[in-house]
């Protein structure tokens, strides 16, 4: 399988750990269901990123599933990070949103769905660890403006709509500074606890 996914390596790294470039995300260890949904969305054009749309345009479901499962199993080491300096007030806002949310704006904590250690949840919620602020900001903004979407009911859409631009910057900055957990495996599915219904968790 490793030979077959050489098409991914210049952006996502040999083991899906990501590369030095500021944008391309780590994909290793994300839940297979999440990765599969993204590959299908790129193929069908419901998630837009031209280089990805082009690469997977003519690949059948079964093979995309296999690719997703391949990367979901990998546990390459996390890259060292250079967090740079960020205003402590911004980081405090980011940490609050991640850990407790903002009840006044009915924003649930990221951790409520993405896992206590932010490693994601089976089958369809991605981990937020090991991602760079540029990627996180771009994705949250894409959700907010409606460019990125998921299966209905689209829980992430509801949340992104309630985030301001500075919220997005704060969350991204805080997340990107966290030490990766010992075990980066996603949590098992736990429907009871989720604050919103999510189409990708069906």
């Amino acid at each position: 399988m490793e030979a077959r996914v050489q098409g991914c390596v210049t952006c996502h790294g040999q083991s899906g750990q990501g590369t030095n470039s500021g944008y391309y995300p780590r994909i290793a260890g994300k839940p297979a269901g999440y990765l599969y949904n993204q590959l299908v969305a790129f193929r069908n054009g419901t998630r837009n990123y031209a280089p990805m749309n082009y690469l997977v345009a003519y690949l059948p479901d079964a093979y995309l599933r296999e690719m997703a499962e391949h990367y979901a199993k990998l546990r390459p080491p996390f890259a060292r990070r250079d967090p740079g300096s960020v205003d402590p007030a911004v980081l405090a806002r980011g940490e609050a949103l991640v850990k407790t949310g903002d009840p006044q704006k009915t924003i649930p904590a990221c951790a409520a769905c993405h896992g206590a250690s932010l490693t994601g949840m089976q089958p369809g919620i991605p981990g937020l660890v090991g991602l760079r602020p540029t990627y996180l900001t771009a994705q949250l903004t894409a959700w907010k403006v409606g460019e990125r979407k998921a299966a209905e009911p689209d829980c992430m859409k509801r949340i992104a709509n309630r985030l301001t631009e500075s919220d997005i910057a704060a969350v991204s900055a805080w997340l990107a500074r966290q030490e990766p957990p010992q075990d980066p495996s996603p949590e098992s599915a736990n429907l009871v606890r989720m604050p919103f219904a999510c189409g990708s968790q069906k």
Binding site: V9, S21, G45, Y54, Y58
Partner: protein, 433 residues
């Protein structure tokens, strides 16, 4: 030149408008309404077979590729077809009575396929490949009709085309048709085998290969005299190589098995398909029977050889030593692992670059695009888990892309000419990051 032709065509069209009433086809005389058979209860075996045959032929014609919007329902149309003249939107060809072709008769369907005239008498834009489909037999047209009438009807109104003036005037098409459309079913060549004729019928008819593999001029027409000589595909910016030149995708020197594999499997010992051809293989050619894939190969191999461009002179092939050295270094570091230091690759997983015509042909567009964007071969029934090449657009600058493409075009006795860094930036814009 293009402008002169365009003006000429507008004049021609104006003349045509004068006689438009006499020349514009009308509505076919209606027949007494037929009982719409309530299948499948009374479906006979013969009817099922006809529908199955029609499904196969619709695959051969790749109807689904244009008549289905990504994420949309099959055959419900609505897919945007960007053209140099504005956007066309493919119509709904499901049997919905109101928004699809549910009210069409098989006569009306055949006239559309054969003459490029819609049910209401209006002329079709040649984005619909009726210049190829005209070669389809009445029996095959009826089978496709039977199949389309059997698919799930979808209620979806056709989206109006967004063509610029004067191309939004369908009367202009009378001029286009006079210049570029020759109506008539495929006539078998008695001097050739049955297999050859079957291949020719599929390639020239339903396969509508000439839509891309014959250069399109400023008016969106293609000349029969240049059939299969290749050209840039408008709005897609891939070069569809000539099928008649052994310097491009001419197949005269290929084994039949490799030609058939390329068409049906998407990979072969000689080359791999990417880009628009990957779409054709994915949606259409992978479903061809072995016999039909081989028949197409037999026909394609015999296309007359017309090498438009002579081999580049040794002068034109001169490469600056620094560029060659840079290209070799990049190749050894980034490419050799899969394609081999000797350029022989490991086909069919990793295609060979040495002796690969698609790399040495005059237009370097496809090679540059492959280096920039990478690519996956299509996943097909016979190759459901294809290998892929990663993009390098974010790793190489223009000089490096030009150097490595130059290297693969001239190394290992390849007969290509060097490319300049100035050719790269335009192609970078195609898949914006």
């Amino acid at each position: 030149m293009g402008l002169r032709i365009a003006i000429g065509a507008v004049v021609l069209a104006a003349l045509a408008v004068a006689v438009v009433l006499s020349m514009q086809p009308g509505v076919l005389p209606s027949k007494p309404p037929q009982e719409k058979a309530a299948r499948p209860a009374g479906a006979t075996n013969a009817e099922t077979l006809l529908i199955q045959k029609g499904e196969y032929l619709a695959r051969a014609g790749d109807c689904v590729a244009c008549h289905t919007n990504p994420e949309g329902r099959e055959f419900a149309g609505g897919r945007a077809m960007p053209t140099p003249f504005g956007a066309l939107y493919s119509p709904n060809i499901t049997p919905d009575e109101e928004t699809g072709i549910g009210q069409w008769s098989s006569d009306e369907f055949y006239r559309m396929m054969h003459s490029g005239v819609s049910r209401d008498g209006s002329l079709l834009y040649p984005a619909m490949p009726f210049a190829s489909y005209t070669k389809v037999t009445r029996a095959d047209s009826d089978a496709i009709y039977a199949y389309l009438m059997s698919v799930q009807p979808v209620k979806l109104k056709n989206r109006p085309h967004e063509l610029r003036f004067p191309f939004n005037k369908r009367e202009l098409l009378i001029g286009w048709r006079t210049l570029y459309f020759k109506e008539g079913e495929y006539q078998p060549d008695p001097k050739q085998s049955e297999q050859w004729n079957r291949g020719a019928y599929l390639v020239e008819g339903l396969g509508h290969c000439s839509m891309c593999h014959t250069a399109i001029n400023a008016l969106g027409g293609s000349k029969e005299s240049q059939e299969f000589e290749g050209g840039m595909i408008p709005n897609q910016n891939w070069y569809a190589p000539s099928l008649t030149s052994n310097r491009e995708a001419g197949l005269g020197e290929w084994d039949l098995k490799d030609i058939a594999d390329l068409l049906q499997v998407g990979v072969s010992k000689r080359a791999t398909v990417y880009g628009p051809m990957a779409e054709v293989v994915y949606n259409s050619l992978q479903y061809m029977t072995d016999a039909d894939a081989e028949a197409m190969a037999v026909y394609l191999k015999t296309l007359p050889k017309r090498d438009a461009d002579p081999l580049p002179t040794s002068q034109a092939r001169l490469v600056q030593p620094t560029v060659m050295e840079n290209g070799r270094k990049i190749y050894d570091k980034q490419c050799a692992l899969c394609h081999g230091a000797d350029g022989k690759g490991h086909p069919p997983a990793y295609p060979p670059l040495a002796g690969n015509q698609s790399i040495t042909m005059t237009s370097p567009v496809n090679s540059i695009r492959m280096v920039l964007n990478g690519g996956y071969a299509p996943g097909t029934k016979k190759n459901p888990r294809p290998h892929g090449m990663p993009p390098f657009s974010h790793i190489f600058d223009d000089e490096e892309v030009a150097a490595v493409v130059t290297y693969i075009r001239v190394a290992w006795d390849n007969s290509g000419a060097p490319v300049a860094a100035a050719q790269v930036p335009e192609l970078r814009k195609l898949l914006p990051e």
